[in-house]
């Protein structure tokens, strides 16, 4: 049984994770500076979310790598470096979200909820990995292929993120309903 404060902490964690994922839904890559701000805000939201978690996690290390990548992007000028940056950023973001996935599984376990997180995270992982693998070919593709690959990849990532957001929402609802039961009893 976990206490009220712990549940409150979990809800805050989920809230900030939701904010981070919602920020990811907006594609600001077209405007270079907006992209920096967006990525920084996402990392800040991840950090804030992580601050409500007491256990050990690799998220901080990944965020650190992500920030270094973000700084390195300033010197990215040709198709080669831009593709490297894109693939590495998406991979690091995936690693961060997978780490959060582990935290979500833990939260589900603590709340005795029927867990679908593991399954959703697995699908999330494979879809993002496929998109990332396809994006490695951007540097050797013709313009039309580049645009199609980017659009298809972006749509897929958008869909899996939305799905994860819905899952977070239902998780939050479940925890809240359990809290109400505790409070009522």
């Amino acid at each position: 049984m976990i206490n009220f404060a712990e549940k409150q902490r979990q809800l805050n964690l989920l809230k900030w994770l939701t904010i981070a994922l919602s920020l990811k839904l907006v594609f600001l890559n077209v405007y270079p500076y907006a992209f920096y701000v967006q990525q920084l805000l996402i990392y800040l939201a991840f950090m804030k979310s992580l601050s409500y978690f007491k256990g050990q996690s690799l998220v901080k290390k990944y965020i650190f790598i992500g920030i270094i990548l973000l700084i390195a992007n300033i010197v990215a000028s040709n198709l080669l470096s831009i593709t490297w940056h894109l693939v590495l950023t998406v991979s690091v973001d995936l690693l961060i979200i997978l780490e959060f996935g582990k935290i979500l599984v833990e939260i589900e376990r603590q709340n005795n909820l029927l867990g679908s997180t593991a399954r959703i995270m697995k699908q999330y992982m494979w879809i993002v990995l496929c998109v990332t693998a396809s994006w490695t070919f951007l540097m050797n593709s013709e313009y039309d292929v580049i645009v199609s690959l980017l659009i298809v990849g972006a749509v897929l990532i958008f869909i899996v993120n939305v799905r994860l957001l819905f899952h977070l929402r239902s998780l939050k609802k479940n925890i809240k309903s359990k809290m109400r039961v505790v409070m009522n009893s």
Partner: protein
Amino acid sequence: MNDFKKQLDRIDIPKSLHKRSLKGIKRAKNEQQKHKRWMPKILTVTVTIAAGGFIALGVGKQDTRQQQSSSLLDESLSSPIVHWCIAIFLMIMTILVVIIAIRKGIDKKLSIAMGFIMTLLLGNSTVYLQNQLPKPITVPLVQDFFYSNENFDFTIHYITNKSDRRFVKYLQADNLTLQAKYYGNSENKGISYYPVDVTNDSSHQFMRAAYFVGNREEIQTLINSKEVFLVLDDGEKLPTLLQMDFDHPEKVQVDFLGTSGGNDEMAIFVMMQDVVLDAVNIPEVLKHSVSFTDIKVNEIAYTEKDFPIAVKKGQRVIITFQTSEAGMDVRAKVGVSGRDGMLPKWINREASFNIPKIREEIERHD
């Protein structure tokens, strides 16, 4: 709840039992590892195969691009072999990192997938680097201008790497400078950078157009000058092959009616005078890519062997030329001529976006 925890803490485990359980755990771990050692092996094999494939690809490309170096073409300093050696070294490093990551307990499938993506990234980067031009190249241009015009315009195509943000600013020949017509610059710095003057694109290069307008004196200077350069906005000079000439009206004076009804390779005339035709006029630079097929007078075909041929007033004449793909832009006149003048056929053809062909053409005239 807390009481229960305290009670758990109070339970003492005998030391001998503790040691035995540790041993058991160790043995179980070892057995588990033995079972799963096939994963890194598969990964090693996969990456080696991928690397082998990439090498084959690289060597193949090298063969097709082997050209003698010339003053107009700078060969890349680093050879493809060096690229591949570095790439393979990095791929092996990737495998090692993946193996270490798996041993450290990071999810096996994820580690392998990440390793695979890294290998793809390295392989793609090598292919990318091999296909980069050390410096932009220009497409040779053969152009004849109508002498009667006051202004003369022409377009020179040049090929740049996709990541090259420079553009042609002006043309330089002896003491003549012709400014390129400015197309405006698209400021998108992202992955989808696509300048406005692009006429064609391949996986690694853009074919772009520099448009110039000059008066008669300027064009005459161009015709007379031996060295012509396209100058980029950062000052780099690109040697350019230009073969220009004026289409002097006195050369053409065979009286004929209309050339309508022809297609890319043939021209139709209705003669207004008697003419004797005895020669095929194809400029020297076009001889390997344009060839005379036949001349049809009242549906009877004659080849060059039948020259000279006499054509009478009122006869319908069709001349046909065959053009093959070549690495140059052509806006020039060919024809069949005699003492009284020439039956002209204008060839309008853009170079295909085929860098080896264009290089071949440059070398031929170098």
